[in-house]
Amino acid sequence: MDPVITLIQLIISGALVGGIYGLIAMGFVVAYRNARVFNIAYGQLAVVGAFVAWTFVGSPAAPRLPVPFAVVATLAVAVLLGLVVEWLLFRRMIDRSQFATFVASLGLLGVLQGLVMSVWGTKTLAMAPVFPKGPLHLGGIVLAREYLWAFLVAVLLAFVITLFFRRTRLGLAMRAAYDNQAAARTLGVSVRLSSQVAWSISAVIAAAGGILIATVGGVSMALSELVLVVLAVVLIAGMDSVAGCIAGGLVLAVGQNLVSYYAGAYFTGIESVFSMVLILIVLLVRPSGMFGTKPIERV
């Protein structure tokens, strides 16, 4: 095959995955900004979402519900999960330090891991197709149809979420609360409500991202490694930039695709190493990320 075509194909297919990464990272950022939790268990939320979707959609051999119903049902479960997590755990920790909520999310990581393992086991499960499958020929480039669909859905969702934070009253109020929680409280922004909304949105994005990734690669515990991807994306993008996530996702996924194609034979798992090295470089060169704002430090 023509090396130039290969390169273009790698870039485009990487970019398609990057859109999904970007979407998933947005959910992490929403929880970090609006619920003030550095949620290390975020990848596990995606895992739960994917397994719930599998339960509703069914395996390729035995599909259950029609896809649209199954997806809606999964997202409903995700909202419920987000609310339960908020209600049982993080509401009780609203005034605690970020270290404390981080540790709580470590605990959550264990609990969700245990939950998934005991309900669904540790095997990789194939899911009935959510999107139309098959190759798509564009010139000399071959793309998988489901990647394209997943990308489009991811971008659409990302757009909707950005609109929510930019245009709606509640979204704007939540952004205000991010800048100054105490001030927002005096303005009548309910911390509890914004925390609930943040957790629901975060969980829904995680689940949606989990489904999108699962349509491509199957449902398994390995999805929990999404949290590494998410961290790489948010650090590249800057911890406080929702829109920057998409760009960060594109950079990461395209890079991973190229690295694993050209160097994967020499070093297994090079794409994970690539993302981690990328993290280190970004942190060293520009700790606030490519799109983040750097707060002025006061003594």
Partner: protein
């Protein structure tokens, strides 16, 4: 004023690791108990419990190191088990592939691990809070893949036939001899860690943890303090990793997982952040929980699959961390202190 002048008489008491008659008595009891324990256990059963104790001791050494990095200096590390991995692998490579004598290999491996700790800290020192956590996480992932790809490290199969230590003519092979050896090693590590807590370096860690800005005003080189914390912390981890590898006579990638890093963090939270005794208590607590869960599933009283038993451990560990951070954020140490005060003040309540 009066209290002040009486105190001036002897600050040695405040500095001492063990205070008063009660302290020494408790220590003597503890010492006798730990020495006799394997004898008692070997009467009842096979060596299962001694093995359990040995892993617990190794974990204590590792967690003492994390307590220094995270508990004392406040640098959240998600990569602690990667330090054990580094120590273990370097030990195995030196001893099996390059033919170094045991103690030289062990010494070099521990030193190398501590140096790697400094290397990891270099990008971390300019950063704060979660960024340090992410750097250490990145370190974990990177080192895991490096060891997996390194041919001298045996690829995914790892290395085996790692030798055990010998002290003079004494070869440490049996579980019981390992127990006494590790007990001694752990005791040394505990004393070192407790001494650190009441030294200038240890206090500089606390100052950095509490407030980096004011710490530099005390003449403390903040990046330097973080580097030191990572050096000492990974030194402990290196010791644990070296002897872990030597104890199980092999090293493999999945021997030191990311979950271990997470549980180590959980142990210092449950025990009490920043305190040496807390680290020990935290390890004992979670190790006992794990063993009890294991016993329940193994005994077959409750019919559970192996898979479910593993899942149960995850869930229970997670739940324990959540409950402690939510309701007892200062850990078992604070619970213990509280019990002690209410015992002293009885019958007057709190």
């Amino acid at each position: 004023m009066k209290r002040g002048s009486r105190r001036q008489a002897d600050y040695g008491r405040d500095v001492a690791l063990i205070g008063g008659l009660r302290g020494w008595t408790a220590l003597a009891v503890l010492l006798v108990a730990t020495v006799v324990l394997p004898q008692l256990l070997s009467v009842t059963d096979n060596m299962k419990w001694v093995t359990f104790l040995n892993f617990t001791l190794l974990t204590i050494i590792a967690v003492l190191g994390l307590q220094i990095i995270t508990g004392m200096a406040g640098q959240i590390s998600l990569g602690h088990s990667a330090f054990l991995m580094t120590g273990g692998y370097i030990m195995a490579i030196l001893a099996t592939k390059l033919g170094f004598p045991f103690w030289i290999a062990a010494f070099l491996a521990v030193l190398a691990t501590a140096s790697v700790g400094v290397l990891v800290a270099l990008p971390a020192i300019r950063l704060k809070g979660f960024y340090v956590a992410v750097v250490t996480l990145a370190f974990f992932t990177i080192s895991q893949h490096i060891f997996q790809n390194l041919s001298i490290a045996g690829g995914i199969w790892g290395l085996s036939n790692v030798p055990g230590p010998s002290v003079g003519p004494l070869k440490i092979i049996t579980d019981t001899s390992w127990y006494y050896f590790l007990l001694l090693l752990t005791a040394i590590c505990i004393i070192a860690s407790a001494s650190l807590a009441r030294s200038r370096i240890g206090r500089s860690f606390l100052a950095v943890r509490d407030n980096e800005v004011t710490a530099s005003g005390l003449g403390i080189n903040v990046p330097g303090a973080k580097l030191r914390a990572f050096f000492i912390g990974s030194l402990f981890a290196g010791i644990a990793g070296v002897f872990w590898t030597s104890y199980v006579t092999a090293v493999r990638i999945d021997q030191f997982s990311l979950w271990d890093s997470i549980w180590y963090l959980g142990m210092i939270i449950i025990g009490g952040l920043g305190s040496t005794a807390g680290a020990v208590l935290g390890v004992l607590f979670l190790q006992l929980v794990r063993q009890v869960l294991h016993e329940i599933t193994a005994s077959g009283v409750v019919p559970l699959s192996i898979n479910f038993s593993a899942a149960l451990t995850f869930a229970v560990y997670g739940l324990a961390i959540i409950l402690f951070i939510a309701f007892r954020p200062h850990g078992l140490m604070a619970v213990w202190q509280k019990l002690k005060t209410s015992y002293k003040r009885w019958p007057f309540g709190e």
